[in-house]
């Protein structure tokens, strides 16, 4: 994916308006809003007894040139949101704008948006070349221009040698590339990707992650990517929106989402988390004093308003839970090992401390890797400084 040719993909004259058109490298234009939804609601079977609210009062802004991911469990509404952006679903309330233009009532063909469908939806009666040319032909791009762009697209996704094949003679990964090329060829302002990697096997999926990310950088097009795979989301995204039950849970960079989850849902859904019940026992400046049953008090930075006496949930990642020989003074509490799971590069211990169950993951090798425990052992448990997060709900 190193073709510099891709940088000069030309648009049809019809769409080449405005100053934001020139593709640039590594330039997330934070100030330009690529897509925005305000107060968006989607109700299926409205008015009947089977009415179902897929999206509830949804607000979201996506920046230009961003690799943005909508992440959540199946049925959370992420695909509905994507289909509303693409024009395949109507919205029940609210507005949806793309680069400042209100598209709420526009059909898909009137939106400067292209989609990579989950099962690719390649036209089976057309060759790869004709598939890629389709959008340009519909826009009325000249034949010469169309041919040139198709060639560049084929190069961009390494499919030049398959140009005259039909889609049903190709593998999943190849079809995926063709679907990408077809959607990128008309140079959309937004590229929507509906779980495009879910039909691929693990190895190919990991390879395509890198390719997708590189493609987004090279083309400078805003990507909106839907997935239920948190690993995929963390690996590729500039920012992630975590969605659950039709509601936006948290928006942020992968680091923010992983390191600073706001809610139990986010902490639990993104990676693994130990969730502990605690009480705020004191506030001092920027830190809160927290009491956890069975452990010594700990301190954590205050990230949102807390009150003394308030019951809160804490989150700590398994790899940031420290276990030591019982009786070491730096430990905050004691726990018993219930199970030990060998993971190759790490060992996972399932622990019980009072009425809380915890998971700790110790890497193999290094100093901590020298220790090893067996089920039944009593161990000391400590928390890495800064590893404890106070959840908002």
């Amino acid at each position: 994916m190193r073709t510099s040719a891709s940088l000069s993909i030309s648009r049809s004259s019809e769409r080449a308006q405005g100053s934001t058109e020139k593709p640039r490298l590594h330039d997330p234009r934070q100030d330009t809003i690529a897509a925005e939804v305000k107060g968006l609601s989607k109700v299926y079977n409205a008015g009947s007894s089977r009415a179902y609210e897929a999206l509830k009062n949804f607000h979201l802004s996506i920046h230009a040139n961003e690799f943005f991911t909508l992440l959540g469990p199946s049925g959370c509404g992420k695909t509905t949101l994507l289909r509303i952006l693409g024009g395949f679903e109507t919205l029940s309330a609210g507005t949806c704008t793309i680069f400042g233009q209100d598209v709420s009532r526009l059909p898909p063909e009137a939106r400067p948006v292209n989609t990579v469908f989950q099962q690719y939806a390649l036209f089976p009666h057309m060759t790869v070349r004709r598939n890629i040319a389709f959008g340009l032909e519909m826009l009325g791009t000249s034949r010469v221009e169309t041919e040139r762009t198709v060639e560049r697209m084929l190069e961009l996704v390494h499919m030049t040698e398959y140009a005259d094949r039909k889609p049903d003679t190709m593998s999943g990964g190849q079809r995926q590339r063709v679907a990408l090329a077809r959607a990128l060829a008309p140079r959309p302002k937004l590229l929507l990707l509906d779980e495009p990697l879910s039909a691929l096997d693990l190895k190919l999926r990991q390879k395509m992650r890198l390719e997708l990310k590189a493609l987004q950088r090279e083309t400078g097009i805003t990507f909106i990517f839907v997935t239920h795979d948190q690993e995929e989301a963390l690996a590729m995204s500039d920012r992630i929106a975590v969605i659950d039950q039709g509601r936006l849970q948290q928006v942020g960079t992968p680091e923010e989402i992983y390191e600073h989850p706001k809610s139990r849902f986010v902490a639990d859904f993104i990676g693994e988390s130990n969730l502990l019940d605690a009480r705020v026992s004191g506030l001092s400046g920027t830190e809160a004093n927290l009491t956890i049953e069975g452990f010594a008090d700990i301190r954590a930075p205050i990230e949102w308003p807390l009150e003394v006496g308030q019951a809160v949930s804490l989150s700590i990642r398994p790899e940031r839970l420290i276990i030591r020989e019982a009786g070491e003074e730096t430990c905050s509490g004691m726990a018993r090992v219930v199970a030990r799971t060998y993971l190759g590069n790490a060992v996972e211990y399932h622990l019980v401390a009072g009425n809380q169950s915890l998971t700790a993951r110790a890497p193999r090798g290094g100093l901590r890797g020298l220790l090893d425990f067996a089920p039944g052992d009593e161990v000391g448990v400590g928390f890495e400084p800064g590893a404890i997060k106070v959840l908002l709900s």
């Binding site: 693409g86 024009g87 395949f88 059909p107 898909p108 063909e109 948006v113 292209n114 989609t115 469908f117 989950q118 099962q119 939806a121 390649l122 036209f123 089976p124 009666h125 389709f134 959008g135 519909m138 826009l139 049903d168 077809r182 959607a183 008309p186």
Partner: protein, 278 residues
């Protein structure tokens, strides 16, 4: 025959396909019996079309003279031409109407989709004589004189459900994200239909057309009632010939029709198979 079938049975038992009807004793001979029952009359009919004599039951040597008679008979030619013209027009019009109906009813959740499906396919279950009488009474009531036009109209009507079913089946097998992808790539609904949906429907359209064509070609009851005195089709003409006495000429013309139908059915099946690969 019994040798072949018993060895087949042993193979089947050896692969132990439990519950396979082919494992039952006597399956082979029962199949042969059924095939004879189904095809003996047709084989018999075809064989005697090559009889040299005037009898349709006593063999007196091979000859193509009855085929020569058929091709020399102007009345038969007129009737055959009528039949083909009516079948081509009826199948074409019925296929176009069925295409519209199938496109409109493919989404059964759409308002009235289910009802439309029932209404469209119900004529398949109505006894043909009822349709025939109804058509006749209707034409008389609105004052159209019976003839070529009434035959054509009746044929178009009863061909619609036959053309509709294969088209609808094909349409339902289409991935709904294909027209969505076309719209996503800036195709208007009309462009999405002509560039994507229609080309992918071609196998369904062809099998629908061929089915309608064959049904129209060999219809007798409805045609007989709405034909009136002047117009005639091949089945009507053959029936008329029979009333004047059985000669191998009837066998020859029937064998020709059988041949034509077989070719069309085979073509239809082949198209269906190619279409399913998509």
């Amino acid at each position: 025959m019994s040798n072949t079938s018993s060895s087949t049975m042993r193979t089947v038992t050896a692969t132990s396909r439990i519950g396979d009807i082919r494992a039952f004793a006597g399956f082979g001979s029962a199949s042969v019996g059924c095939l004879i029952f189904l095809y003996a009359p047709i084989v018999f009919l075809a064989a005697y079309s090559f009889n040299d004599g005037r009898s349709v039951s006593r063999w007196s040597g091979f000859s193509l003279r009855w085929y020569a008679t058929v091709f020399g008979n102007e009345n038969i030619q007129t009737a055959a031409l009528n039949s083909v013209i009516i079948a081509v027009i009826a199948a074409t019009v019925a296929t176009l109407l069925a295409l519209g109906a199938a496109t409109a009813t493919v989404n059964r959740r759409a308002t009235g989709g289910e009802a439309a499906y029932v209404v469209l396919t119900f004529p398949l279950m109505v006894p043909e004589i009822v349709t025939a009488v109804a058509s006749l009474v209707f034409f008389v009531a609105i004052g159209i004189s019976l003839g070529f036009v009434t035959i054509l109209m009746a044929h178009i009507v009863f061909c619609i459900p036959f053309a509709y079913l294969p088209i609808k089946a094909r349409l339902e097998g289409l991935d709904p994200s294909l027209p969505a992808a076309a719209a996503d790539l800036y195709a208007s609904p009309a462009q999405a239909f002509t560039r994507i949906t229609l080309p992918l429907l071609v196998p369904g359209l062809l099998s629908g057309w061929l089915l309608a064509f064959i049904i129209s070609l060999d219809d007798f009851i409805i045609t007989a009632l709405v034909a009136g005195p002047g117009a005639t089709t091949l089945p009507l003409h053959i029936y008329g010939m029979l009333r004047l006495g059985m000669t191998p000429e009837v066998n020859a013309i029937s064998t020709l029709m059988l041949g034509a139908s077989t070719v069309l059915v085979l073509v239809s099946a082949l198209i269906g198979r190619v279409g399913h690969k998509h």
